[in-house]
Symmetry: C4
Amino acid sequence: MEYRRMGKTGLQLSALSFGSWVTFARQTDDHTNERLMMQAYDAGVNFFDNAEVYSAGLSEEMMGRVLKKVNWDRSSYVLSSKAYFGWKGEDKKPNQHGLSRKHLMEACEEALQRLQVEYLDLYYCHRPDRNVPIEEVVRTMNTLIQQGKIFYWGTSEWSAAEIMEAHMVARDLGLEGPSVEQPEYNLFNRMKMEVDYEPIFRNVGMGTTIWSPLASGILTGKYNDGIPEGSRMSLEGYEWLKERAVVEDKLSRVKALGDFAHELGVSLPTLSIAWCLSNPNVTTAILGATRESQLTENLKALEVLPLITAEVKERIDVIMGTKPVVIRN
Amino acid sequence: MEYRRMGKTGLQLSALSFGSWVTFARQTDDHTNERLMMQAYDAGVNFFDNAEVYSAGLSEEMMGRVLKKVNWDRSSYVLSSKAYFGWKGEDKKPNQHGLSRKHLMEACEEALQRLQVEYLDLYYCHRPDRNVPIEEVVRTMNTLIQQGKIFYWGTSEWSAAEIMEAHMVARDLGLEGPSVEQPEYNLFNRMKMEVDYEPIFRNVGMGTTIWSPLASGILTGKYNDGIPEGSRMSLEGYEWLKERAVVEDKLSRVKALGDFAHELGVSLPTLSIAWCLSNPNVTTAILGATRESQLTENLKALEVLPLITAEVKERIDVIMGTKPVVIRN
Amino acid sequence: MEYRRMGKTGLQLSALSFGSWVTFARQTDDHTNERLMMQAYDAGVNFFDNAEVYSAGLSEEMMGRVLKKVNWDRSSYVLSSKAYFGWKGEDKKPNQHGLSRKHLMEACEEALQRLQVEYLDLYYCHRPDRNVPIEEVVRTMNTLIQQGKIFYWGTSEWSAAEIMEAHMVARDLGLEGPSVEQPEYNLFNRMKMEVDYEPIFRNVGMGTTIWSPLASGILTGKYNDGIPEGSRMSLEGYEWLKERAVVEDKLSRVKALGDFAHELGVSLPTLSIAWCLSNPNVTTAILGATRESQLTENLKALEVLPLITAEVKERIDVIMGTKPVVIRN
Amino acid sequence: MEYRRMGKTGLQLSALSFGSWVTFARQTDDHTNERLMMQAYDAGVNFFDNAEVYSAGLSEEMMGRVLKKVNWDRSSYVLSSKAYFGWKGEDKKPNQHGLSRKHLMEACEEALQRLQVEYLDLYYCHRPDRNVPIEEVVRTMNTLIQQGKIFYWGTSEWSAAEIMEAHMVARDLGLEGPSVEQPEYNLFNRMKMEVDYEPIFRNVGMGTTIWSPLASGILTGKYNDGIPEGSRMSLEGYEWLKERAVVEDKLSRVKALGDFAHELGVSLPTLSIAWCLSNPNVTTAILGATRESQLTENLKALEVLPLITAEVKERIDVIMGTKPVVIRN
């Protein structure tokens, strides 16, 4: 396994990491999760990603039970959670979501209980919240650090300007700014990582724990022949993915990329994941999995990584046509 | 229920909230309180206001017992208390009241015990204390936030200058200033909310949890025919209200306002409460109640709110004659 | 009882307070102490002063046992201790005294255990320690405040320059400076209170909890006929007091003051204590006592206070000849 | 025993101190360690040095068991540990070493558990870690101080520039910089202590707890006739010492120094240790020991110290030829 420093911090994350996201609790059971997490851990994965919203807290509870059972040394892995959406689904009340101090403090305590641990290594603001001053967020995250409940804090899907405002406020108050961002990044979604965040990577330093490296599964190629029943794309509550994903145009480009992967002698998903990792600003790509074979396949991305030369990248850019073009006058 | 952000913070309060004030313990019992609080909660009220001085701590103890029994999710409601007057009545000793660090620290701990909770969402300085430097207050409130015992701190009946001094001291020390004020506000008492605090609302941001929207009951119209025995106005220890309230002149204006309410097809108290809520700087109006029918009636104020147009406001100003006039040369 | 604000803080101390000093444990037993402390408390005394060095920790243990037994409301009294000399007597080792962070942190924890309380209201540096940077002292005292173990910190017998350095360091770091000093102050020892600290009282604000208002007992007049066996002056370990105290010259001035007290119709000790209290920069005068009759007598000083007019003060200055003369060119 | 202030802090360390280093757990058992530690303590040694890496945590566990058994007053001794190398040997994973917040926080907690104490007096960064921003280290060490887990923090084998960067960052953030460094210092290794750190000693203040005053045993003279089996130099894992130490040239100088020691009437190791202590910037020299006779001998260095006159120092410089020469143009 390759390990990368999370931005400017001293924390090291495995280049491939394990996310429970939607798959936990909805599609898998404790026994499956235990086998998947052990497989990942044995392969050198040290970052296990979670959030209060994933399956409404059930995902954290499942992971907590597995962590308790496998009893790995707490210092051997990095555990995260995220606050924003709350975990109470439709019934949630006004302060049971968002980034107010009330929710951040309560959500962190609740996540610690669900995960059955004493502290989180990473704690994310799962989305920006325009109804909360960034100063309130920065102060609260620093209070949590001082109380020993979290070690580092980060953002997810924040704009570059919002991240920089957090740094500005933190510096002004002598507090600690966010050190990691969790954006979507894949061959269909490149703007934030390659354009928006570029000055932050260069001037401030920031780790990224990217999600959806396979673009919700499109880049596995499995939808090339239509969306099967029981796959993630057909699950209730994720219809929004469907619309976006099933665009004909996208599927044709995925097919062409599949041909190129074949030419290179590798699989389409490993090529897609390896391409993400070839961006030096990616600290880790979060993998989801419901089957051991799937995880085995995706973990091979690190073997594919050396193949992603400048030339290969150019070929991929041509095939996909998704390279951001920035015109500055 | 409508929810409003408390000033610039991320906390959201229901526009109508529940205060135990004088009614708890003196006029009601646990069973009544439980029914009233459940009624409020079911109607969407999420802010329950209290203070050490209300019935000398008994009010907090009653509310604590009810909260324990109903067992609502702690994150679903906002709980407050206030320090200043102490709770030991006539026997209280020098440091058992006021805003010294000693009283603030001890009073907060005592309130947590009486309310049987681990933290307060809001903690107020119930009055200004000219014998304590504002720096001591700001530092202590921030210590309580760092210790996780309170989430936000505020003031009650402080002057605009005192509030601004707290912000000045907080900014100088990199600490957190007060984010909410609890003033009296009603059709007889408008100066602070509409004139004094105006620059604070505009330039710094501040939530308000107003008390006495019915001016100690005058605006219910129930004193129009004299003060009945057993009503709040005749209770021992509240004679000061009597003097002020029973002014003939006021009662005549209340009658006229009652006629106008009738004209609008609404009740006098709901019109009076809705008028308070029509001020966008009001976060929430605190309602007291001893009977379910009373609470049912007052909670209708939100339905009346849309009727409070600019034209209606002008009519009310003319009837009441209490609109502040500020002459600046 | 009269209560005074401790300098600029919000804390109020009774003008007369109770110190266990040398008398506890050496000359009295638990039963006596309990009666004396109850007598003081019932008379309105709210400040009970202690230190690790008093009878090598035994004084704190005794007071702790009494406080536990009488079970007064913790908020009704102010409790202090002081670190510097250590409590282990001759056997104490290098870091078991002084003002290093190690000793301050350990001494505070030990004092809390001996006194059986969760926090001290006041914690003093019992002497300056030129071997410890004042920054280390200021940081440690602020850490103890943040941890909730102490509420205010102060100094004892520090020079004006040392106190001001502590304020300078505190302001530079945004931390809290010392708010109270415990100096010796009596008719024989006036320089610090009346000259040295004057700019601090005027420009920064500082409370004082003065010790030895009767100049180790000389001002009781009891040594006018020689030092009796069993009195504090003859106790082992306090020979240093003997030398200073038994100066013939002093005793003659004490006799003259006694005559003047007789003329005013009051006792010599009450006049001496009341004179201390007539200085508005004195927050409280600490009284020691081994007998109830002695405490009864000294508590009368407050009744004598109104007699200390400007004219009486001048008479006393002439009799004693101890008024500081400051010549500034 | 002589005690010295640790740099500018208020902490006092015995000039000779006890290090468990490699000898604990590998060459000694609990019974031996108990006798050695008691011997040192009885001789006035108050500093017991340890680190997570020493025998992979076993050294701390052994010392913890002894400390528990002998039950010395916790305030009578100074205890240290160090984070960086981890303690899990070959199996350690990415974040189980280094100076990231994750490792510092976890390593401190683990050290407290192994040593069975509530706090460490000193906590060192065992080496610089170029993969962690110094700001992260400074912030984390200050968090540990605020949490009461450590009293002072320091560095070991950091360069002067790295130490100064830590001070710069600390001052910028109002936090506490490192107050002690643990460098190697002996007659073969003088550059850091005598040249590199000189401006820090002069302008900032820094204590030093030097290790290897006998240059891994060469200066005992025991290797003059070859390296015996069972000595520290032949132990597995310390081959690197062998190479450096067995240089013929060094041994010849050691022999000449031995003759000079004989001339002075003292032993070679006591002369070598005393020479270290004659540098006023040395707070303490850490001694390792496996036998009581060895410790008895080395503790005599303080008696030898008065012999280290300026003249003797010059003689030693000529014999050893290791005095740093700094040419500044």
